[in-house]
């Protein structure tokens, strides 16, 4: 069974025909062609597919696509682009927080959700805020640095 949904995707209205059993992750990757949203496990364990859904960070693999009808969806591409990157994206680059880059899109989105609710987090709070996003390359330290650096920039 399929149904039509309408989402506000990175600021633009998008209509998608999705299966009622389809995950939002699959709808975003396969139907909306949002390949920046990564699939690391499809079962909510790794956080690579994290997106903002009405401002909250969610694992898009754990959301059914029909549940996103009428919602605002933001991926890492919605946070900034080459001509106008977000402070978080800048922070990730200058802090050396990116190695293979596969966790990066989800990590940046989770960090965005964290800073939206807690603009001045401690390192421990950043670690807690990102605990749902696995990274196998960096050991997390430079990611924490990046978020700290972005928070300082945002607050200055």
């Amino acid at each position: 069974m399929t149904m039509n949904i309408e989402i506000k995707f990175n600021g633009q209205t998008k209509s998608l025909t999705v299966k009622t059993t389809q995950s939002l992750l699959s709808a975003l990757r396969e139907d909306a062609k949002a390949k920046e949203v990564k699939d690391g496990c499809s079962e909510g364990d790794c956080g690579a597919c994290t997106i903002l859904m009405d401002g909250k960070a969610v694992n898009s693999c754990l959301v059914l696509a029909p549940a996103a009808d009428g919602c605002e969806i933001v991926t890492v591409k919605g946070l900034g682009d080459a001509s106008n990157p977000s402070t978080l994206q800048r922070g990730f680059v200058t802090s050396g927080a990116i190695q293979c880059g596969f966790c990066t899109a989800g990590m940046v989105v989770s960090a965005k959700a964290l800073l939206d609710t807690n603009p001045n987090p401690s390192r421990a709070e950043i670690r807690e805020g990102l605990a749902g996003n696995l990274c196998r390359c960096t050991g997390y330290q430079k990611i924490i640095d990046a978020v700290e650096c972005a928070a300082q920039k945002n607050n200055s």
Binding site: K38, D39, V76, K77, Q89, I98, R136
Partner: protein, 763 residues
Amino acid sequence: MSFKDKNFRIVGKPMPRHDAWEKVLGNVSYAGDHEIPGMLHVKVLRSEYAAARLIAIDTSAALAVKGVETVLTAEDVPNNETVTKFGQTHTVGGFEGLYRVLAEKKVRFFGEAVAIVAAKSPEICDEALKLIRVEYEPLEGVFDPAEALKPGAYLVGEDDSNLICQYKVRKGDIGAGFAKADVIVENTYRVPQVDHAYLETECGSAWLAEDGVLTIRASTQVIEHFRGIAEVLGLPQNKVRVIAPMVGGGFGGKEDITVETFLALVVFKTSKPCTMTWTREESLLSHGKRHAYTMKYKTGASSDGKLVALEVDILSDAGAYVYLSPWILLYSTVKATGPYNIETVKVDARTVLTNNIFASANRGFGGVQVCFAYERQMDEVAKALGMDPLELRRKNFLHQGDALATGRVLEHAVETEQTAINVRKMLGEKTVSDKANILIGQGIASSMMSYGRMTFLHDTSRSYVSIELDGSVTIRCGVQDIGCGQKSSLASIAAEVLGVELTDVTVYFGDTALTPLAGTTTATRQLYMSGNATLKAAQYIRDNLLNKGAEVLKVAVEDLDLADNKLVVDSDPSLAMPLAELVKICASDGVELFNLAQFNAPAREFMDFTTGQGQVFADFTFGSHGIEVAVDTDTGKAEVLKYVSSYDVGQALNTLSAEGQIEGGAIYGLGYGMTEEILYEKGRALNANLATYLIPTAMDVPDIEVDMIESHGGIGPFGAKGLGEPSSVPSAPAFVNAVCNAIGKSLSELPATPERILRALKN
């Protein structure tokens, strides 16, 4: 500041990586992101038995499903079985193994590929997979390497023994060594099979190009598998092309073929494009793991702390197929002593087939398992002698000019002792616990890990560098970039030598058709090998530029330099000429501003396998880790309070990147120490997902204090040493040494879980 006076502009500075922006903006097309109109989806039917005879496979019902394009089994594969010299290009004895694309005769492990389906959608694939009828005759199997060695044991393969190979090292008279010992410490250490758990599972796409070249774009550390794929299909090697886009983590797990042959087969049979991405469960079940080892260590020491004898017996579980097991075992054999000078040494090592998932490369490649044993053993010997663990290590460290037990003299920089002293200092005084149930402990561990492949493999790498007419720089090099900054490092080297900025360099990488072959991204070899090749090519262009510049400006070549996109005259800055202008002059005069360079690693003959004497590695990276833990005696939980790491990096190409390797390596290794283990029940992995196979999260680990020594004594570009694997090697023993120090008991098994710690506390 320039390359000329070694006062570098780019090398050795903290720089944002060359590939960072494309990744943070979400613009990188990884292997699983590529779509081709009309592409088929491919899925694998996997064995539900660890050991079974394959009687028959009926694919007719699956083939009848609407939307199914093809269903393939072993008999559809032109050459289903090939004997591969895994990952290498020279014929040497003892390093060959059977590579089987799809199961035939006997199934050897749970999760082994039995058939593949290609269909119009993933859902149709799933439906068809359910309709394939496989008739198995279950067999008893063998799951323990010691059992597998016994006479009459179940035979995993078609040979008459499960033993794959054995190595030994002999130095001096071991009996006389032990006779001199005042204390003898004997322990058996066990380490489990573990997974790489990269965030990107195995994936790729493939198509038939208009010129008939079968093209595969896959997440791989080795594009040169195009040769093996061609052999499987019976095609000439130049009719198969492999492209590796940015890889979402490798750590050795994408060193062997994963999706490539399946994709290639579907294109070969259907001429249609196709794609495949493994699920996390599939990834955990069916790519090679790090070997589980049982290691018996017997160490003799004199009362003043000199190691006089070491006897080691290593038993490695290779799992169901040979893959890289013999190589990894050789690494372990040579490194079994650790970075210590021991008077007499006897090492015996064997690797054995079982019906567990096959084991192959994983960051540290046989150097990790033995490090756990030799570094735990050092602390146990120190305890027996009543000596400080650092002091015992300092009495026995190998130094430059000393020989390994294999007779190989360490010609290059050896800073192990300094790194150990540094981590001890960085750890500082023990934190004081204010709770009765919290015990604090500190531990250190040192290691030596090779970078670059074994010297008898006669390794080479090629890189092409050119300067465009506007002064921008292009590199073409067949490296696979698996996230460690392979591409970025090459850009740094060329930018430094040619006096341009990092952003002025474009690097084309990972394509067997368009980039010169640079070998595998494994063995911590790319900075060393392709870095040297790129340096050589860039140097050739630099020489041509400077010679022409000297002629045009009528000054001595020695007076010239390249910096900040200019030809600079040291004695008269007013004469400086824009690089682009000099390039135009060179172009019109026919001066070559391109070069394809090959770097050849120092090559040696095979070691003598009867004595274990000879050279196996070109150089090593030495380093130490220090950890402080707080152990809760009620729960057994060990929290890492402090983590310090010190390495001689030779020369950091990009200090931010090098720190990133050291930090990431530490945490990758800490997972091995704390939580990671594939749990088995008769060959069936019980924890094939990331909810039960636990890798460290941001909450589980502390910040790491990094110390980098730059000896400039490596054999990579500018004296660099490799870091990718070495940075991870001593984590687990440092962690367990800290736990043992806290609780006053001995642990000899990984991972040191709360359960194991509690059990040790009760003993």
